[in-house]
Amino acid sequence: MFKLKVSDAKLLRDMATAISILVDEATFQITPEALKLRAMDPSRVAMVDFEWPKTVFDEYVCTEPTKMCINIGELLKLLKRAGKDEIIELALDEKTGRLQLKIAGKYTRNFTMPTLEASEEEVPTPKITFNVRAKATTDGLRQAVEDAELVSDHVRIEADNEKLVFQASGDLMGATIELKKGSDALLDLEAKEPSRATFSLSYLSEIIKAASATSDIATLEFSTDMPIKIDFQQAKEGKLTFYLAPRIETA
């Protein structure tokens, strides 16, 4: 048996939005302790690693570990119907294999949606030695990628112990966005060695824009020509982390 209750519909909606950036069909791992999801996008360029312990929910019941795969876009359509202060209840009907969604506010709405065949793929997270660790506001990051997007479709992220730099160069225009250590946007910066890596802006900006709805502060970790790890600090307990593989331009 599995069911959960959230008194703030926005919380669930923002989370589903962030996941939907990368995956259409999301297979959740449901354990008595937490709701988890780890998945790559179809082209395997990016990964999302999500975990909400039971304490995030107002009510969370799971009697035995199970998997549930749902079309996240369809779920999102239903969640969008919920107002800010409405209560959402999700329950899995194991007999019919359908997910029941109840939105309770001024009046009560019950939706059901089908679950899909769960993916059996176990995805490990990449284990990388990161040389740079930067803590920034999600707002600052969003501004930086929006600036870079004006001139190019990819951005080089560079850091040393002084600053974090976003460098974009397009066919005609270029942009350099500098976040200095100790500035309002960059809260902390440590670099074991100066590092740089290039990333696709279409992924980076979608991830940052969607995830910043759930979080004010993000921790970036990267090394030269390695995947970047972006951890969005959650208001309550819980984890929302993205990995994005780099672009390595060889002549």
Partner: protein, 453 residues
């Protein structure tokens, strides 16, 4: 730019064309009236200096002379205002003046099996001369109609619609208001076409309708896109679907409308390939790098398939002197693409994008595989005039019919393509977002394997 008929007679710079026609062998055989011929002048003035003899435009043959020759052959056939012949069947809906457009039948003044004249599916391999030859026989009757108000537009439009649904050539008597006039275009933007005139009356013989199309026509609760897909899945040729589509034969009753021929070709290609793409996305990925190729009418297609989730890109390179790059000194490249999720805006490079997408999706569905597909096209100067989007569809379909060259790595596949093309592969790569992505964008899995391995 248009030059009026009067100016042709007296002071037009295009008098040279009339002179050529008089001098040429073909011209000597037929009497033609100068007022049957309207010439458009090129803004560059190159044609005036060249007069079809020096190939200043860089093409291997003068497209105007090619067209003029066929035009003159059709002159004896259009001395009358009364054209009787077997329509392939064929109709044409113009786009000028939308929503008030000229619609009407295309009728060649011959009584034989003309079905080939309007079935590009069977044209592959024919020379440009042959195609221009039979296309220029098609005399176009024009009748002004509002695209949505065709129901009350009278008998001529009604008959045109009936004709468009016919399964075989139909005897048609086309009575025109005046003798059909031919156009020879010096600026060369429109595909080969016969002379035209406004319709006075139209008599269409007994036409047997394609019963599949008739079923969709009678179903006024069936949406147009669904009708197109239904017919395609039953094996009706794309051209036939498109022809019926252009006369508003499909869709919910209140939504039916005439669709300009050019738009309807792309609409049908787009609707069908969109559906096929959704199927493709459910299939397993190919496991090797493949290159398919085809050459026709001096257009070289190299289609690269890369293992991965469905995405699509089309890149065209036009040599100086080809249709869309007449006066340039260097090769011009156009490209457009879409990712796994598809696209919502019209592709910049136009109808070719959708025609090629249809051809590659057909192959992937047949094989039940998915891949990242890049269609590369080099148009060489021998492609002297545009013959229509079908050339791309059938050229790529031809590529798909043949076994691909397969490779273990992307760089081997790219080396092979480099050996087939004149444009350096580096230039293709820099133009192609999908190639850049395949070469430069790493995957998360690249870093997982490293850990394991």
């Amino acid at each position: 730019m248009w030059s009026s008929q009067r100016r042709v007679d007296k002071c037009s710079p295009n008098v040279w064309l009339l002179d050529i026609l008089k001098d040429s062998n073909v011209g000597a055989e037929v009497k033609f009236e100068e007022n049957l011929l309207v010439a458009r002048s090129s803004s560059s003035g190159l044609c005036v200096a060249c007069k079809g003899s020096r190939f200043l435009c860089g093409k291997t043959r003068c497209p105007i002379i090619v067209k003029a020759n066929y035009f003159l052959k059709s002159v004896p056939l259009m001395q009358s205002e009364d054209i009787a012949g077997a329509s392939p069947p064929s109709v044409f809906v113009g786009r000028i003046g939308y929503p008030y457009v000229y619609a009407g039948p295309l009728v060649p003044p011959v009584q034989e099996d003309t079905s080939l004249y309007d079935l590009p599916e069977y044209w592959f391999g024919k020379s440009i001369d042959e195609i221009v030859g039979f296309r220029s026989m098609l005399i176009r009757g024009k009748y002004r109609v509002h695209v949505q108000k065709f129901e009350n537009a009278g008998k001529i439009i009604e008959k045109t619609r009936e004709l468009a649904l016919a399964v075989k050539p139909v005897d048609v008597e086309l009575i025109l208001k005046k003798k059909p006039r031919g156009f020879i275009l010096l600026d060369d933007e429109v595909q080969p076409f016969g002379p035209s005139a406004p319709i006075r009356d139209l008599i269409v013989g007994n036409a047997r309708w394609d019963h599949q199309i008739e079923k969709a026509y009678n179903d006024t609760d069936l949406k147009a896109a669904e009708a197109v897909l239904e017919l395609y899945s039953k094996g009706v040729l794309v051209t036939k679907i498109q022809r019926a589509f252009s006369v508003g034969a499909f869709g919910l009753e209140k939504n039916r409308r005439f669709v300009p021929t050019r738009w309807s070709i792309t609409a049908v290609d787009s609707i069908i390939s969109k559906e096929l793409m959704e199927k493709v996305k459910t299939f397993p990925e190919i496991s090797e790098y493949r290159v398919y190729e085809s050459r026709y009418l001096d257009n070289i297609f190299e289609v690269l398939m890369i293992p991965g989730k469905w995405s699509y890109e089309a890149i065209e390179a036009w040599y100086p002197g080809t249709v869309w790059n007449p006066h340039g000194r260097s090769v011009v490249m156009f490209s457009d693409r879409e990712g796994y999720e598809g696209r919502t805006t019209y592709a910049e490079i136009g109808g070719c994008y959708y025609a090629a997408r249809l051809a590659v999706c057909e192959q992937l569905v047949r094989e039940q595989r998915q891949a990242r597909v890049i269609v590369l096209r080099e148009a060489h100067p021998g492609y002297i005039m545009p013959v229509g989007v079908w050339q791309v569809r059938e050229n790529v379909r031809n590529a798909m019919r043949h076994k691909p060259y397969t490779f273990k790595t992307l760089s081997e596949a790219l080396n092979f393509i480099a050996s087939r093309f004149k444009i350096p592969i580096r230039q293709w790569i820099m133009r192609s977002e999908l190639l850049k992505d395949a070469l430069f964008q790493k995957r998360i899995t690249d870093f997982l394997e490293k850990i394991k391995g």
